[in-house]
């Protein structure tokens, strides 16, 4: 039998704690609360999978890359992200998961997640997308950036051989999502751009089984693939790391402009979009930068795109900075509110009033959140229950 057609032995791989179904409200609240506690203590990490694989066994994990061009002398140029790596035979791109083999370019992480988890959608965070539901979340090894504050660097900054992974083809992911009552699949934890083909095909498989897909990305991606992706998925949350080229160059190892271009393309496509801005003390938190950011969002994406100003915690190569003061986050929110953005949130501060959603017309609280726990939703048919104002987002499964 073709290995690609084999059913994954998912039930052996998923943790026992996730095998009881269905998730009732009480249980969901308990799970969400635990998730919230874990996040606070810094232990709520995606769990590693449990089967290692070597290069010799990687045939089932490789697929020809979707975006590249062949050059002379067996070289290839990757066209998936703006880095445009030119790669010699037997070498890999910056992401570490795409390899030139004899002049043909391959992804090495097709059907090869190294983490999987059932998360509240609020953890992504997506606040206007099926609130209080779960997302079956997957990631592979690798990333096309190298953010100094990465909280998942043990998977994002390594190659597929360096982390245990499992074989889980697209239909297997969709099947798992359904089994665990997740109305969506989330591509998250690392940068999903680098497993583009797997993500795209999984989104298709999910739709065939009635499961949506959400992408959690830094959007450092070329125009053609982001347009294709936007047609296949149901929401894209973009981590806009800063609003300065210097920060992108020094802290993220990327560029700002392609990310802004990708955001505009996402907007044009009509797919649901939210933005997270991780506020790092002293590096991207000046009034001037935040004003520039929210003005750009308002002018190019409109006031209805939710933006989350999220608290930074010291991680990886940025352990010398303190966690973001809550007052800084509140200052950022005030600037965005003054610009006229409608949905401005504060993230990573459980219990803060700005975790909840308020109707921009009547001002009433229409979704109440505390950490990842949603306790009240007053949105009916996509409108504020109190005044009838349309609330943008995806509210129906």
């Amino acid at each position: 039998m073709d290995e690609h057609n084999q059913k994954p032995e998912l039930y052996d791989l998923l943790p026992l704690t996730l095998q009881g179904l269905p998730l009732k409200r009480r249980r969901f609240l308990k799970t969400s609360a635990l998730a919230g506690l874990g996040a606070l203590s810094g232990t709520f990490w995606a769990m590693p999978a449990n089967a290692g694989e070597g290069k010799k066994d990687d045939r089932k994990f490789i697929a020809e890359a979707a975006y590249y061009e062949k050059l002379q002398h067996k070289q290839v140029r990757c066209k998936l992200c703006p880095r445009h790596c030119v790669i010699d035979d037997r070498e890999r791109g910056y992401c570490g998961v795409r390899e030139n083999r004899n002049g043909t370019y391959y992804t090495l992480v097709y059907s090869r997640p190294c983490t999987y988890h059932v998360d509240p959608i609020e953890k992504k965070p997506l606040f206007h997308f099926l609130p209080a539901t779960l997302a079956f979340s997957i990631a592979t090894a690798g990333c096309n950036l190298n953010c100094k504050f990465c909280q998942n660097w043990q998977i994002s900054q390594v190659t597929p051989e360096q982390v245990p992974s499992i074989y889980l083809p697209p239909d297997g992911v969709a099947e798992a999502a359904k089994k665990y009552h997740c109305p969506s699949i989330a591509y998250t934890y690392n940068e999903p751009t680098i497993f583009f083909e797997y993500m795209r095909d999984t989104a298709r498989a999910g739709h065939e089984q009635g499961v949506k897909s959400v992408v959690i990305s830094a959007a450092y991606i070329e125009q053609e693939p982001i347009r294709e992706l936007a047609e296949e998925v149901d929401a894209i949350k973009v981590d806009l790391k800063a609003f300065s080229d210097t920060y992108y160059k020094d802290i993220v190892r990327g560029e700002l402009k392609p990310v802004l271009d990708a955001l505009v393309s996402i907007k044009k496509s009509g797919v649901w979009n939210e933005i997270v801005y991780l506020v790092v003390p002293t590096l991207n938190d000046s009034d001037q930068e935040i004003k520039g950011l929210v003005k750009w969002i308002n002018q190019n994406l409109g006031p209805d795109v939710p933006i989350h100003f999220t608290r930074f915690y010291p991680q990886y190569l940025l352990k010398n900075l303190p966690p973001t003061p809550v007052s800084t986050l509140e200052r950022c929110k005030a600037i965005a509110d003054a610009e006229g953005l409608h949905y401005v949130y504060i993230g990573n501060v459980p219990g803060h009033p700005a975790e909840s959603t308020y109707c921009p017309h009547c001002g009433k609280k229409i979704i109440t959140r505390n950490g990842f726990v949603v306790s009240d939703i007053f949105i009916v048919n996509g409108r504020c229950k109190f005044c009838g104002t349309p609330i943008p987002g995806v509210w129906k499964e």
């Binding site: 070597g54 290069k55 010799k56 002398h73 067996k74 070289q75 790596c85 030119v86 010699d88 035979d89 037997r90 070498e91 890999r92 791109g93 910056y94 992401c95 570490g96 190298n146 900054q157 390594v158 190659t159 051989e161 360096q162 190892r253 190569l317």
Partner: protein, 325 residues
């Protein structure tokens, strides 16, 4: 514990801490002038395919004797290793065909055993098991024979090592298995870094070399060589330049390879790479190719490796003594 007892125990403890440091320090420091020996074999230069075990041993012995200025080969090896140590041989198999000659590894292993290293305490390693197999090596984790395996077989130390712009995990082969490393690189053109030889070969010791090919590898290649595990354990370099490649590297491109016909040895990796760079440039000029600088890939990491913050060696030709034998 009385005072005398305390002082005795403290002294013993402190002495214990100092032992590894003293052992490390007993290796001779880099001389004021860095010596590089290019040990030629005339028949290797005339024709590809004439490398055999006898000639390899002869060229290697000539290189070691000349480098250390000793009458007997074993005296030279005793300046690199001590009996009873575990020694890693870092080969370069990334390009598959055209990897470090297995004959060179055999020759070095033979001389190491004569210098008191047990056969099973010699670890031949590179990035991946499959790279080693493609290079003609047979994987061996056993208790007999040379051990041969890649980083993927043993994994990386979980603690980040950092210097300058480089932050990497280092293979456990370096951090937990070997006492010292002999670097066995190739001499090749490199499409991004300009050339690959002694310094760049050590990218094979880290988990994320894909992150360090920006800006012609400068300063990353120099930085990686200053990561503590690499800086303290790499003792000597024997570059397999029996055949070299002046263009199209690091991939194997037979049309741009030529039988340089030599081993190039030295302790100073910067002087080694500077010398190798000049060899590549001369050949490129002779074959009508642009210089690496003109192609926008001058190996500036070599001068970075020589600067005061890295202090890995010298790239000053006045301070490099190239001996051709």
């Amino acid at each position: 514990m009385d005072r005398r007892n305390f002082i005795q125990k403290t002294a013993a403890f402190t002495g214990g801490l100092l032992v590894p440091k003293l052992l490390t320090a007993s290796f001779p420091a880099l001389p004021a002038k860095s010596r590089i020996v290019i040990s030629h074999n005339a028949s290797w230069s005339r024709s590809v395919g004439t490398v055999d075990s006898d000639s390899m041993l002869k060229v290697l012995d000539k290189a070691i004797q000349t480098y250390f200025q000793v009458d007997h080969v074993r005296q030279g090896w005793s300046k690199i290793v001590r009996p009873g140590e575990v020694i890693g041989l870092k080969v370069n198999c990334l390009s598959g065909h055209g990897a470090t000659h297995t004959l060179l590894v055999q020759a070095v292993a033979e001389r190491l055993q004569q210098a008191g290293i047990k056969e099973n305490d010699i670890i031949v390693w590179d990035r991946l098991n499959s790279d080693l197999e493609d290079g003609g090596f047979r994987i061996n984790y056993g208790k007999k024979g040379l051990r041969v395996f890649g980083n993927d077989a043993i994994g990386f130390d979980p603690y980040l090592q950092t210097f300058g712009q480089a932050s990497s995990l280092v293979t456990k082969i370096l951090t937990r298995v070997v006492d010292g490393v002999i670097n066995l690189p190739l001499l090749k053109d490199h499409s991004i870094a300009g050339i690959t030889m002694s310094l760049k070969n050590l990218f094979g010791a880290i988990n994320n070399p894909n992150k360090y090919h920006l800006n012609t590898g400068d300063p990353y290649i120099a930085d990686v060589n200053r990561l503590p595990a690499i800086y303290h354990k790499v003792r000597f370099t024997i570059c397999d330049a029996a055949q070299a490649q002046y263009h199209g590297g690091p991939s194997f491109m037979p049309q741009w390879r030529w039988p340089f016909g030599a081993l190039i040895v030295g302790r100073d990796r910067v002087a080694m790479d500077y010398t190798g760079w000049k060899i590549i440039e001369q050949k490129r000029a002779k074959m009508g190719f642009k210089s690496l600088k003109e192609e926008g890939r001058e190996p500036t990491y070599i001068s970075t490796a020589a600067d005061a913050s890295h202090a890995l060696g010298t790239n000053d030709p006045q301070r490099i003594d190239v001996i051709r034998v």
